[in-house]
């Protein structure tokens, strides 16, 4: 019965967090609908931003993604693409596309240590674009190299396989300008682009993915971002700002030593470090979430790529929890110490073990006395219904504030996949997380395979 209670407690906690999301969703809708961006997007009053785009073997998508980033509705910004020792033609594609040449004496202002920078490329015709070519060192290392070159007080990390909506950055900046002294980081909403029509680096027509794996992820992201992060940010207990799209105060990122290299989960790690720094130094702060700032990303569409990604996430999460174990149940760290970190350890990192051991115990119990088969059914139902209820909640949040998927058939499809998720996909998620933990214990720190498709192919394949 302990397992059933565990599942019920997790669900109730999820539910409470989701209630906070519901409490805020109307304000988010009003903010998105009634805030005007036309004056802001042409105004010198908006803070300047350096967009950092780490790229590793992105030859198929990089040109289109950079084109998308160069045409944002934002007054002053620079795009710094960091080629992290790609073994494909990523650098060549960029050099040819933008006519870049090697800068003989580039000004590198920062001194966060990174792997060797081989050169910085630039073309005065595209004054806001810089390309750093460096030896392979991982995503965190690339972001640090970008910080070293960046000129502006705000930095934004963006995955090279993602497309920003034109207003995404200005929406984040507006949120930042509402409280610039206390805001240290703002996360954006990440959505799955598989299935959407992409033209000239822009999502023209929003549709759900046609393939199974991206479809499951689409539901999963919606639940995590709308159901979870809005609520957590309301409590100022957000533990992660997605690496795919986030905005940060550069001075604070530098104050915490930049991104931690050598391990996945750098996006969660930087946020934990920021919380720790601000709380230890007793500086009033907030880590905010801006769901109306949307970034569209290519989701893995094959079993292998997806499993590698999830194992990496599992590894990164465990590493972050172990590294910051002193924060757990430590009142010095307020909401982070008393709620977010314990929640992440007990209900995220250790979740698979509770569920697996519980299930095995129940199976054993039922096998010993077959008259108790009901307990097993109840366990299954509690698991399924509590999860499904939260998915339905996330769909309602989406409908209240964003309404990106207009067709009724989309709604039916999302409800169907929200249910199907519990037959196989959910269990695989548990397995991948355990495998990630095993890799961590084995010191296996490989990135795994990750292949990209060009946005054009994607359109045909999705």
């Amino acid at each position: 019965m302990v397992t059933i209670y565990y599942v019920m407690i997790v669900s109730v906690l999820y539910f409470v967090i989701m209630l906070f999301s519901f409490r805020n969703i109307k304000d988010i809708f009003r903010r998105a609908k009634y805030s005007t961006y036309n004056t802001l997007s042409g105004s010198e009053l908006v803070p300047s931003v350096s967009l950092l785009v780490p790229a590793f073997n992105e030859e198929l998508t990089i040109a289109e993604n950079v084109r998308c980033l160069m045409t944002l509705n934002y007054p002053t910004y620079e795009v710094i693409v960091i080629n992290d020792g790609s073994s494909d033609e990523t650098l060549k594609v960029l050099i040819e596309e933008y006519g870049l040449t090697l800068l003989p004496n580039p000004q590198i202002r920062g001194k966060i240590s990174t792997n060797k920078v081989r050169g910085i490329y630039y073309n005065p015709q595209y004054p806001q674009l810089y390309v750093i070519d460096k030896e392979n060192g991982g995503k965190a290392d690339s972001l640090n190299a970008g910080i070293n070159l960046s000129r502006y007080p705000l930095i934004s990390s963006i995955d090279a396989d993602s497309l920003l909506e034109k207003d995404a950055l200005i929406r984040m900046a507006r949120m930042y300008m509402e409280n610039p002294e206390e805001t240290v980081a703002i996360g954006g909403d990440v959505r799955i682009a598989n299935g959407c029509v992409i033209e000239n680096g822009e999502v023209k027509d929003v549709s759900l993915p046609r393939r199974m794996w991206p479809m499951f992820q689409s539901i999963e992201y919606m639940k995590a971002f709308l159901g979870g992060r809005i609520g957590w940010s309301h409590l100022n207990g957000l533990i992660i700002v997605s690496g795919a799209f986030g905005l940060f105060r550069k001075d604070y990122v530098i104050a915490v030593g930049g991104y931690r290299g050598g391990y996945p989960g750098e996006d969660m790690n930087i946020i934990i470090k920021l919380h720790r720094y601000m709380l230890e130094n007793k500086i009033k702060y907030r880590v905010a979430f801006c769901p109306e700032a949307v970034c569209w990303t290519q989701a893995p569409d094959s079993y292998n790529i997806l499993s590698n990604q999830r194992k990496r996430w599992g590894r990164g999460n465990l590493k972050n929890m172990i590294e910051n174990r002193d924060m757990v149940f430590n009142p010095k760290y307020k909401i982070m110490g008393l709620l977010t970190m314990p929640y992440n350890v007990i209900f995220e990192a250790l979740n698979p073990y509770f569920r697996i051991t519980g299930l095995l115990a129940l199976l054993g119990y039922v096998l010993l006395d077959m008259t108790n088969w009901k307990v097993l059914v109840v366990f299954g139902l509690v698991n399924f219904l509590s999860g499904y209820m939260l998915s339905v909640g996330a769909l309602i949040l989406e409908e209240i504030a964003f309404r990106r998927y207009t067709k009724l058939s989309d709604q039916v499809k999302m409800l169907l996949f929200s249910a199907l998720k519990f037959v196989g996909y959910h269990q695989l998620g548990v397995l991948w997380r355990v495998q990630g933990h095993i890799q961590y214990l084995q010191n296996n720190n490989s990135w795994g395979t990750m292949t990209r498709q060009s946005w054009k192919d994607k359109k045909e394949a999705a």
């Binding site: 903010r31 003989p104 202002r109």
Partner: protein, 397 residues
């Protein structure tokens, strides 16, 4: 065990109930939203001719009216939204005509009534529309609503509506003071809101610059976007000596952008200010002022701890003829650390423009610099100077 299972049953029933209610709500919302969307499109199409009529008479001497016949509430919303879109686009008589149309049609009155609605949704929607319709008669109620609202995105929406609608500078002042009272350092956002005003911005800015509240002074300085109007220069001159560091930094930036004639001791004082923003603004201004006497100050500022100050100093030195360029070359050859890097970078930028000069004067100036360059670095312009810079380390940028 029985009671435990019972608890689980209750949990299951609760979940089932919530799921069923959620799915019903979801479909009900989707159907309603889609129907609203269809209505909007249908009415936009239906009133296409009316919109053409309004557009073609915006500059004529006729009073605009609503289309004949009874209009549904959704139709009124479509017409109001179109009017608000045009109000943003047009100025002068055309805008006034549209504003009058909104009043005559009762849109303003309706939305003023909605400000007292119990529904927050309705109130905020009304605030937004009243701002869009520049409803000066709604300002007192908007102010009252702002005073009752806890700080957040809604405050900004209300503040913007007041800025758009107010016809008295005192109302704008009160709105800005209220924004500052939240103590959130939102001067840039407030400046952006201030720029929405219909009032004469020059006289409004002058009033704010003379205000005893330094926060309001800073908002007006920020709102000027680095473009000083000559009439403000005496006030700026006074504010350059302000004890409020933010006000002083903003005032110096503006003051120097007006190309004033500066005394040597003023230049020295500004270049030694403890605020980097002041030093950076002074360093930037010295180049365009062609104050050759300031070369030693700029050379020393190449070693400043702040990147902006170093960069602006190098930029200004590059603008100060051969003498300035030679100072850069000296710093590149004999200097060290960040000063050397900054100088090298600037020199490279200048030398890379060989062959890009079309005017004779530019060519002559470039050739003079090239001679200086060759003197310092030899006749190998196509090669890189020294090794790749990039060991510097400050994050002041």
């Amino acid at each position: 065990m029985f009671s435990n299972l019972e608890m689980a049953y209750v949990f299951i029933y609760v979940c089932l109930g919530l799921i069923a209610a959620g799915i019903i709500l979801l479909f009900q919302m989707k159907i309603k939203h889609n129907a609203e969307q269809r209505d909007m499109e249908r009415f936009t199409k239906k009133h296409h001719d009316y919109f053409m009529y309004v557009q073609s008479h915006l500059h004529d001497d006729v009073t605009l009216e609503l289309p004949p016949g009874k209009l549904t509430s959704a139709e009124r919303r479509v017409i109001q939204a179109k009017c608000m879109e045009w109000i943003e686009q047009f100025k002068g008589d055309a805008r006034e005509k549209l504003l009058q149309l909104c009043r005559d049609a009762g849109f303003v009155e309706e939305d003023i009534r909605a400000l007292s609605s119990l529904r927050k949704d309705r109130r905020i929607e009304a605030v937004y529309r009243l701002g869009g319709m520049r409803a000066e008669e709604a300002v007192p109620q908007l102010q009252e609503l702002m005073n009752r609202t806890k700080y957040g995105p809604m405050t900004i929406i209300i503040a913007r509506a007041i800025a758009k609608s107010a016809l008295q500078s005192q109302q704008i002042r009160e709105m800005l003071a209220k924004l500052l009272s939240y103590d959130k350092a939102i001067h840039h956002m407030a400046a952006d809101i201030l720029l929405e005003t219909r009032l004469d911005s020059a006289s409004l800015m002058r009033k704010l610059l003379d205000d005893p509240d330094p926060g309001l002074v800073k908002i007006s300085l920020v709102a000027m976007w680095g473009q000083a109007i000559p009439a403000f220069v005496p006030t700026l001159d006074r504010l350059v000596g302000s004890e409020e560091k933010d006000v002083r930094a903003e005032a110096v930036k503006l003051y120097l952008s007006s190309n004033p004639s500066l005394k040597d001791d003023t230049i020295a004082q500004l270049m030694n200010d403890h605020e980097w923003e002041v030093r950076a603004a002074a360093a930037k201004a010295l180049g365009s002022l062609h104050a050759a006497g300031s070369i030693p100050l700029l050379a020393s500022a190449l070693k400043d701890e702040n990147w902006h100050v170093r960069n602006n100093s190098a930029e200004s030195l590059a603008m100060l003829g051969e003498q300035g360029f030679e100072t850069l070359c000296q710093a590149a050859l004999t200097g060290e650390g960040p000063a050397r890097e900054t100088a090298l970078y600037r020199i490279e930028q200048i030398m890379s423009k060989e062959g890009e000069h079309e005017q004779v004067e530019q060519m002559v100036a470039f050739n003079k610099r090239k001679l200086v360059y060759d003197r310092y670095f030899g006749l190998q312009t196509s090669k890189r100077i020294g090794t790749v810079a990039g060991v510097g380390g400050d994050y002041t940028a």
